[in-house]
């Protein structure tokens, strides 16, 4: 029951963060002076649009934003629309539905980020734990490489990988989600093609993530290694991999909290990586939307990212409670 209470408290916390996210998403762009639709329509349809189509677009947005109402009513309309999954109509690809555009790109992003994060987390933490356990030259090498990988912004590594492995050495396609002339379909040929396009952006995310995790784990593990339980385990000549597993398991707990806090940066960085590879995910959608001043799309993407980050945080919170026996015990009320 205590665990449930803990969960509910956390849920309340995330509800507050979600409200803040919604508010930011709605009010920040409305800090523009004047009627936003005027500015938006002028900006997006500035050049060479017929006055008739301008009028049509204008009316669509006046209605969508509910501009005949006060700001708070507008916010209520906005929240209502969002809850129904209605993100409005795209400027740049009028009259395309923003939700459909997002739904088309989202799977690509998920396929890219989830494996990179999961695999990177495991590999990075293992490397960090082994480095701290082995010490010496291996440790120094891991430390500096990891520091470099995590210091270089995501997109810089992406730029270098793209140039190195697709242009200078043409091993991989130079970007996009699939080859020219193919269309997304459920076939082995397309899957193989998509996989070859997927690999470089995936590798780029994976490397950065391994670096960040390895550094974090190494500094946790350095403390764990001096712990008495490691000395006791050594006094039985436990195999090294067993001791590393002990250290890993104990160093992992703070690393999970670290993961929760880093998820925002992580997702944002991954979106930037997509841009470098013109990968057909949310990041590239956002990039194109910004170039075309397609505000409904921008807002849909930012809201989606905010929700995803909050959800991921919540997930990690729950996971942490499940993994650490000390926390679990406290929640069950045992000592």
């Amino acid at each position: 029951m205590a665990f449930l209470r803990h969960l509910l408290r956390k849920l309340g916390w995330y509800a507050a963060a979600f409200a803040a996210a919604l508010g930011l998403n709605f009010f920040l762009p409305r800090m523009l002076p004047g009627n936003p639709v005027d500015t938006l329509v002028a900006a997006s349809l500035g050049r060479g649009a017929s006055s008739e189509s301008k009028q049509r677009v204008y009316e669509t947005y006046i209605h969508e934003f509910g501009l005949d109402q006060g700001l708070w009513e507008q916010f209520a309309t906005y929240v209502g629309n969002v809850m129904r999954g209605d993100f409005g109509t795209s400027f740049s690809r009028y009259p395309a539905d923003v939700s459909t555009m997002v739904a088309d790109t989202l799977p690509w992003t998920i396929l890219l980020q989830v494996p990179a994060v999961a695999l990177g987390w495991i590999i990075g933490n293992l490397i960090g734990a082994v480095a701290a356990y082995r010490r010496g030259g291996f440790d120094r090498g891991v430390y500096l490489t990891s520091l470099f990988l995590s210091a270089a912004p995501y997109y810089c590594l992406a730029v270098l990988l793209l140039y190195g492995l697709a242009v200078a050495l043409p091993l991989f396609p130079t970007g996009g989600g699939w080859s020219f002339g193919m269309r997304p379909e459920w076939s082995a040929a397309f899957a193989a093609d998509a996989l070859s396009h997927w690999f470089l952006p995936f590798l780029s995310l994976l490397l950065v993530f391994i670096g960040g995790q390895a550094i974090g784990m190494r500094s946790m593990a350095v403390y764990e290694i001096d712990a008495d339980y490691v000395g006791f385990a050594r006094s039985f000549d436990l195999p090294d991999r067993k001791i590393v597993a002990y250290i890993f398991r104990n160093g992992m707990l703070p690393q999970i909290t670290g993961l929760a806090l880093a998820i925002g940066t992580l997702v944002a960085g991954a979106l930037l990586t997509e841009i470098v590879f013109s990968y057909p995910g949310i990041g590239t959608l956002l990039y194109d939307a910004i170039l075309n001043k397609d505000y409904p799309v921008i807002q849909a993407v930012t809201l989606l990212v905010l929700i995803a980050v909050l959800a991921a945080n919540f997930f990690v919170d729950v996971l942490y409670g499940l993994i650490d026996p000390r926390i679990r015990a406290a929640e069950k009320g045992e000592r």
């Binding site: 339980y229 000395g231 006791f232 385990a233 436990l238 026996p325 000390r326």
Partner: protein, 329 residues
């Protein structure tokens, strides 16, 4: 018949600039069914000795020479790495502080299985659970402990769990390294009973108890060895040593044991004038000479050997048995 004999143990810690001679020719003998206590100030080499005896030296330590013969096996201590497999099975460590010694995220049963699996041969999970449960029961612990995490156990239970794990592979010799240092008085009492029990009920054949707690030693140990500057300077049956210490250092060390006054324990060791020896430089004479009120020219010039007189032995020129009436015992 002795259980274990350690001869001429020399070891140093090397930093970039200097060597610290932590052990400088230590000699010891543990008798079966007995507890040998080792006492000395911090820096005298006793915790280094514990790490070498449990065949698990600290990473920076280099053992220069020394042998340990235990239950018919001769171990070259300068080459401990090739005797790693004896850890846990022939010699085991009872570590300092029971809470920290247990992996907080591993159930006792799983940790026990890890320990048994590190030994020779393969062992099934069910077999190791049965063996562990039996050992736990011998120490009055219920089998449900197997499924517990360390934090779910009380302090006294944890202590017994650590003892059960340490003796799980039936080691001949148990090395207890400052086991009481972090404990309150009543837990110390429990620990002393536990150690005595391990020997009496033959869970181990002998114990080396390393501590700076003179009061604990004089009650618990059968024999006591006093260490100074990496050497054993006096060794004798516990009673003899407490009542009639012969080495001037032992005298100072045991002087206030019988004065039960708050704070004495802390003051006792610091009460010896002068500072602990500098382990970087090895003087030709007795290491204690600079702090010894009775030191003579001879003390400063040549190092005294550990000379046996009956069951006792001391390394001091002033206690030359030739000049002194031999101890009655």
């Amino acid at each position: 018949m002795t259980l274990a004999t350690i001869r001429d143990l020399r070891a140093h810690y090397a930093t970039a600039e200097r060597r610290y001679h932590a052990l400088d020719g230590a000699e010891l003998a543990v008798e079966p069914g007995r507890i040998l206590g080792i006492v000395g100030e911090s820096g005298c080499g006793k915790s280094t000795l514990a790490s070498v005896l449990s065949l698990n030296p600290k990473p920076a330590l280099r053992v220069d020479s020394g042998t340990m013969s235990i239950a018919g096996t001769e171990i070259d201590l300068a080459d401990i790495e090739s005797h790693r497999s004896l850890r846990g099975g022939t010699v085991a460590l009872l570590p300092q502080g029971a809470l920290g010694a247990l992996n907080p995220t591993r159930r006792i049963g799983a940790a026990a299985h890890d320990i048994l699996a590190a030994g020779p041969g393969r062992i099934k999970r069910s077999a190791s659970a049965a063996r562990t449960a039996a050992r736990l029961e011998e120490l009055d612990l219920p089998p449900r402990v197997l499924d517990a995490y360390p934090h779910q156990l009380s302090g006294g239970m944890r202590q017994r769990v650590v003892a059960a794990l340490a003796t799980l592979r039936d080691p001949r010799l148990l090395v207890a390294d400052e086991p009481s240092s972090a404990l309150d008085v009543s837990s110390q009492r429990l620990l002393m009973n536990l150690l005595r029990r391990l020997v009496d009920e033959e869970l181990v054949e002998g114990i080396v108890l390393i501590t700076h707690d003179v009061a604990l030693l004089s009650e618990l140990a059968d024999r006591i060895a006093v260490m100074y500057a990496g050497r054993v300077v006096e060794q004798a049956p516990a009673r003899t040593l407490v009542e009639r210490p012969r080495h001037p250092y032992s005298k100072a060390l045991f002087a206030s044991v019988l004065v039960p006054e708050p704070g004495t324990r802390e003051r006792r060791l610091d009460g010896i004038p002068g500072s602990p020896p500098d382990l970087r430089a090895r003087e030709p004479g007795c290491a204690f000479a600079p702090r010894c009120a009775e030191a003579t020219e001879q003390c400063r010039a040549r190092r005294p050997a550990l000379i046996e007189t009956g069951p006792a032995a001391a390394a001091c020129w002033l206690r030359d048995p030739a000049k002194e009436p031999a101890d009655a015992r």
